[in-house]
Amino acid sequence: MDIQLLTLILFTGAICAGLLGSLTGLGGGVIIIPLLTLGLGFDMRFAVGSALVTSIATSSGAATAYLREKVTNIRIGMFLEIGTTVGAVVGALVAMYLPVNVIMLIYGIVLVFSAVMTVRKKNTDGNTSPADPLAVRMKLNGSFPAKQGTKNYNVHNVAGGFSLMWIAGVLSGILGIGSGALKVLAMDTVMKIPFKVSTTTSNFMVGVTAAASAVIYLQRGYIDPVLAMPIVPGVLLGSFIGSKILMKVNTKILRIIFAILLAFLAMQMIYRSLS
C-alpha cells in the first residue's frame, strides 16, 4: 500500500479511536487492533504495539483537556494501579509464549465484553449508602462537580474491585489495550463509583498500565514508527476532543454505534482466530 494513503487511513482511524476511547474510558486500543489486523492485514504483534501507543495517547490526551482535574479520583486510580501494573508486567511476559491465534481469541472475547460495557446502564449519581470500611481507611470516597452542585459518592467492595484490576492488568499486558472495559466494570459495577468519575479515572489508569508494559514491547520491535507516526497525533487530538465532549453532551447514540461496531469486530476476530 502507498505510504501516503496508509498514513491518511491510520490518521483518520486514530482520531476515531481517541474520541471513542476517551468518551467511554475503554482506551483507544480496541479500535486500532481490528483496523490494523482485519482492515489492513498487519501482523497481530504490530497491532498490539500500536494499541499500546494508542492507549497511552488516549489517556494523556484526555488528561490534558483540563489543567485542573476535579473529576478524576487520583487516590482510587493510584491504589488500583498496584494491581494493574503488576498484572501488566506478568501479561507482557506471558504474551511471549502465547500463539497469535490464542491472543486473537482472547481479544475477540474482550471486544464482546467492551461492547456490553459501552451500553451499560450508567450510574450517574453515585452511591451514598455506607461505604466499605476499607474505602474509608484508604480515603477513597470523594465528590465531583455536577450541574446541581457538588455530588458525594461512597466506594464499595474495595477488595473485589482490586482483584478485577489485577486481571485487567494481565489482559492489558497481553493485548496492549488498556483493558478499560474491565477497569470500568470494576469501578462502576463492583465499587459503585459514578460513571464520570470511573471513566476519567479509567482514562488515567489506562495510560499508567500501558506504560508499564510498553518498554517490553518497544524492545521486542513491536512498535513500528511508520504506524506510530499518524496514530500518535491522531489519537491525542481525538481524545482531547472526546473528553471535552464527555462533560457536556449526552453520548448515548454514539455509544450504541460504538457497541454495534465492537460486536461486529469481535465476531470477525473470533472467527479469524478459530479458522
Partner: protein, 124 residues
C-alpha cells in the same frame, strides 16, 4: 501555582513534545520515503521480524536523530509519550508528599517502582 495546575501543565508539555516529534519525524520520513509502498505480509505464517533493531533502544535511537532519521525521531516521540503517564505518577507522588499523606506516598512509590523496575530490569 497549585500542584494540580503543575501536574496539568507538565503533562500538557509532555503531550505537545510527543506530538511535535512524531509529526516532524513523520514529515521527514515521508519526504525521505516518498512514494514507497508498504509491504504488508499476507502470509501470517511468515516469520515476524519486527522493526529495525536500532529503533528498539533509546541508546541506538539518539545517535540517528542527529542524522535526521525520520523513523528515529518518530520513535523518540513515542518514548516521550510512554513517559507521560510515568510523569503523572511522579507528580502525584510529589503532591502526596506535600500533603504529607504517608499511605499514598507509599502506594504511589510502589506503582512507580513496578513501572521503572520493569523498564530497567525486565527487558532482555
Amino acid at each position: 501555582m497549585t500542584t494540580e495546575t503543575l501536574i496539568g501543565k507538565s503533562l500538557r508539555a509532555g503531550v505537545i513534545a510527543a506530538m511535535t516529534l512524531t509529526v516532524v519525524g513523520g514529515v521527514i520520513y515521508l519526504f525521505q520515503h516518498h512514494g514507497i509502498t508498504i509491504a504488508i505480509a499476507q502470509n501470517s505464517n511468515a516469520a515476524f521480524t519486527g522493526t529495525a533493531t536500532y529503533l528498539r533502544e533509546l541508546s541506538t535511537i539518539i545517535p540517528r536523530i542527529a542524522q535526521f532519521d525520520g523513523a528515529a525521531i518518530i520513535q523518540l516521540g513515542v518514548i516521550v509519550l510512554i513517559a507521560t503517564p510515568v510523569l503523572r505518577v511522579v507528580m502525584s507522588l510529589i503532591s502526596f508528599v506535600i500533603e504529607k499523606d504517608k499511605l499514598y506516598i507509599a502506594i504511589s512509590a510502589i506503582v512507580l517502582i513496578v513501572i521503572l523496575g520493569n523498564m530497567i530490569f525486565g527487558l532482555h
